[in-house]
Symmetry: C2
Subunit: 167 residues, 2 copies
DNA sequence: GATAATCTTGACTATTTTGCTTGGGAATGT
DNA sequence: ACATTCCCAAGCAAAATAGTCAAGATTATC
């Protein structure tokens, strides 16, 4: 599991696509301008997204990209892993051919955590993110803290007191 | 929020410290050998971990590092953010001074997700990881799947069917 | 059919980050 | 004194990131 700005770009672009769903194909040029990402870089990212069928493309004038599935069937984990696919992640790759047991133990501990994060991100769909944002905007307008329930999702937004997460 | 091999090294090293808790200070040379990380790189990582009081150091012969707090009070999110601290994360940093509303919207969507991941990682302690691993080893020895309950933690290990997470 | 819009692909480059080395210190137990 | 350890800073090669450039392929529209 890796989580860098590359994945952020991909998720951001996919969210842009989600927001303009129903308007026909969206050109990369539009996304590039709206999200401040270079066109050619987007092309590279979308090449990988297309291979995973996360987006569908239409060529020619009036063409562009659209979501490969509906927004509630595309999960954040998929998007991130699609653009991140690199070969060797762990030092003792896959197999447990480490020298001593000690090393394998902590490596397993890490891969355990990695799997947890992965499973977590694979439960959050693009639609969830959009719903969540919408709900929070309403709540903010009403001047109250987040207290709403979100049926079908067990992700709580509470207790993130210490996390800068972007500053 | 960022999650790279650098953070993995830090978490792995901290787990190593946790596993040898009670044996007095652990030298970086030991960790370097056990985990296959270069000594000087560990020094750099531990310099940052020490600034956040995640580890405590003892100089001189017989010295080394130990956990700054007990393993159930150190959270994975802290460890990762300690070694990752870079300055500019988002393009429209902190403030919402983007050009058009569209861009700010999707940026907020991303930072929302980022906060969720952060909150998630800040609920997982080093002790949790060690417990989880121990439990799973026992379960594996008994030939049954994971079905145990983990009081105080609401993290499920189920439904990670599609995640390669390191292959 | 010509043309323009758009995806598609590959090569190339600059910048940043990783991971590591080197080389020196400073503290401290023996 | 001395060896052991933490501490710190500079530098450096390899990789990843982010982007540019250039050439195509497809297709709607005139």
């Amino acid at each position: 599991m890796k989580l860098t700005t590359k994945g952020r770009y991909a998720v951001t672009a996919m969210l842009d696509l989600s927001l303009h769903f129903g308007e026909g194909p969206i050109t990369l040029a539009d996304i590039a301008q709206r999200q401040g990402i270079s066109l050619s870089y987007l092309e590279q990212l979308f090449s990988r997204l297309r291979k995973r069928s996360l987006v569908a493309s239409v060529r020619g004038p009036g063409g562009g990209y659209s979501l490969g599935r509906s927004a509630d069937e595309i999960y954040v984990g998929e998007v991130i892993s699609a653009v991140d696919e690199n070969i060797d992640t762990t030092r003792c790759n896959g197999a447990h051919n480490c020298q001593n047991n000690e090393r394998c133990l902590t490596h397993d501990l890490w891969s355990d955590l990695s799997n947890q994060i992965y499973g977590y991100l694979n439960k959050i769909s693009l639609q969830d993110l959009m719903d969540r944002q919408a709900v929070r905007e309403v709540a903010q307008r009403q001047g109250q803290q987040e207290q709403e329930t979100n049926p079908g999702m067990d992700i709580s937004m509470s207790d993130m007191s210490s996390g800068p997460a972007g500053a």
